[in-house]
Every structure is written in C-alpha cells, then in structure tokens.
C-alpha cells in the first residue's frame, strides 16, 4: 500500500521536473499508481517480468493517449511520467555491478533482461500509439 502511495509521489514529482501543466497532475499521479499496481500484481501472480512490463506499459500508454484527448494536452505530458516507475532500474544496476566485479556472464544475463524489459516498455508505447492513431482519426487539430 505504501508502495502505491510512494509511486504516486514519485510520478508526480517527476512530472513537476518536466513542468507539466498543473491540471494534469492528478491524472498523472493515478497513472503512476496504475503502473505500480500492475508491477505488483505481476510479481504476486508470477507473471514474467518482460510480459508484465509490456502489459503495464501498454495500459499506461493507452490511458495516456485517452487522457491526452480528454484533457486536450500532448500525449507526452502523461506518458513520460506515467511510465517511469516501470523502468528496470534494479536490473540495470545489478548488471553494471556484475560487470564491475568481473561476473561477465551473469552481467550479460541481467543486462539482456534489462534490455528486454526496456524493449517491452517501448513496444507498449508503440502499440498504444498505433492503436490510438487508427482509432481516433486525427481531426483537424484535436488529435494531439
């Protein structure tokens, strides 16, 4: 529970660093909580981390696209802070640590996992973007 609250705090603080408009802050905080909820549920039900990251990123990006259209703001306002709690920081750190202590094989394994998770996050963004572009036909200027 405290983790969810913290992820909201982290997401909102991150949003402030990027100077997002004040009326987007509440929705951005909720996005962060949704992302963390997904990561949490995935760990609970032993879903693979790559699959979980992909699902979470897809949901967060789709929500961002929807929010961007409802609140009439650029998608990046929501997607960038929303996805930040999903970044595989721990794995990247572990991989670097393995390399430094000359555990190259271990480092490669963790490093590969990091890259896969990052790739999953990116694909989530891509697929949500493609879906949004095909569902909401860009009207004159309201698209994004």
């Amino acid at each position: 529970m405290i983790i969810i609250v913290l992820s909201m705090v982290a997401t909102v603080s991150f949003a402030i660093l990027y100077q997002i408009p004040a009326r987007a802050i509440v929705s951005v905080g909720c996005l962060g909580a949704v992302a963390e909820l997904f990561a949490f549920a995935a760990a609970r039900y032993h879903v693979g981390q790559v699959a979980a990251s992909f699902a979470a990123s897809l949901v967060v990006s789709l929500l961002s696209e929807a929010l961007a259209r409802v609140q009439r703001m650029p998608v990046t306002v929501f997607a960038v802070p929303g996805i930040i709690v999903l970044v595989p920081g721990m794995q990247a750190y572990a991989a670097m640590k393995d390399f430094v202590v000359h555990q190259y094989v271990l480092g490669l394994a963790t490093g590969t996992q990091t890259v896969l998770i990052a790739g999953a996050l990116a694909s989530g963004l891509v697929i949500a973007g493609v879906l949004a572009r095909s569902v909401w036909r860009p009207r004159i200027h309201e698209s994004d």
Partner: protein
Amino acid sequence: MDEEQILHLCMQAGCLLLRCGGETSRVEQTIAHMSIGAGAAPGSVHSFVTPTGIFVSMTTETGTTTRLTRVSGPARMDLSKVTRINDLSRRLQRGAYTVTEALAELDRIETFAPLYPRWIQMLAAACSSGSFTVIMGGRPLDFLFGAAGGLLAQEITGWLTQYAPRFFAVLLAALGGALLAVASSAFGFTHHEGAIIIGAILPLLPGLAVTNSIRDLLAGDLVAGVARGAEAVFTAAAIAVAVAVAIGVSPHLA
C-alpha cells in the same frame, strides 16, 4: 495576409516547441496548422523539422519564400509551454486570434517563468529520488539518502548543461549521485546502496527522449526519431559508466 509574418510566426512557434521538449512531428504539424490558421492556403506551407533545425517554405503566386533556423540544444524541458503552444495553435485555427495577437501571445509564452518555482523543483527532485529508493527496496530511512543523491544529481545537471554537452553533464551528475550513495553505505549509514543509486540517478534517465523518439518514428520522421534515439542511448550509456565507476570505487572507501 503577410507571408513574412506567417513564416515568422511558424518559426517562432516551432523553435519554442522544439526547445521545450516537443517532438519534431508535433512541430511540423503545428506549423502546418498555424499557417492555415494564419491565413495561408492549405498545402502552401511546407516544413522539415529536425531536432537541431527547422526549414519552412511558403509558396504563393509571387514565388517561394524559405526560412531556415538553427535550433541550439534543448533549453529546459517545459511541457506546460508545449501544451500552451498547442492550445494557441488550436485557437488560432478556430479564428480566436489574429496573426499579430498570436505572435504577441507566443512572446508571452516564451517569457513565462517556469510553472513551478525553483524550490518546488528541488523538492520534486528530492521526493522522486527518495520515493524510488524506497520502491526499489530501501528502508524508509534510505528515503533521505536517495533524496539527497537525487537533489545533488539534479543540481549538477542544471548547472553543467549551461557549459557542457548534455550527456557529459549527465555523466558527472550520475557520478555525483552514485558516489553519494556509495559513500553513505561505506560509512555505515545504510545497506541498500543499490536502491539509493537507482533513486538518485532515475531523474536523469532520458525518458522524454525515448518517448519522443518513438513518437517521431511512428509518425514517419525517421531522421528525427533516430537522432533522438541516439541521444537517449548516449545518455543511458553515460549513466551506466558513472554507476560502474561508483561501484568500482566503493570497496576502496572507508
């Protein structure tokens, strides 16, 4: 309708968007919409935008006018300005502004102080890093160390980007944050140096660059997408090197 003025408006809006962290595809789109809103015939204004420069040309019966502007590196990311320019362009198209009014409004947007004052930004840097430290498995007390590391990293980047290329600034900032984490662990304040390092460097991650790169590639802006992607990879590599150095140093401390 004055084509000089229309081109000037497009350039101003484009430059500002690009420097505040808008994607190039958004810049091209905004230029197209704004020029129509300002009274240019649809299809008469063409633009080619890259992360470091904007070309706009406008064709009328009398001939073609072309403008080119070099955009020097991103100023500070400011998505609220991107949103405001977006709104402006939409309203211009609806006819709520004349070209002169739009230019004045653009100047006003450019000179806006950051939406959040400096102390709030420092607080935000500290809070985000502290929260991430705890999310990544640190104890509640580690919040403080993470927050200090994040604040340090944020201040170093803010100060250094004025003098040095961005990824060099990020390298030093990540080094500062990570060394602080390593030191706090070496002097026995905590056992979670990993969580603190991650918390401290997280605000430096090129999140906006990655997102913009993907959105540009999706929109078919291959040059811009690849360039932004390269920027993101360089930044990530700089952070990785800094973390590796900090971990390498840690056994020799204390």
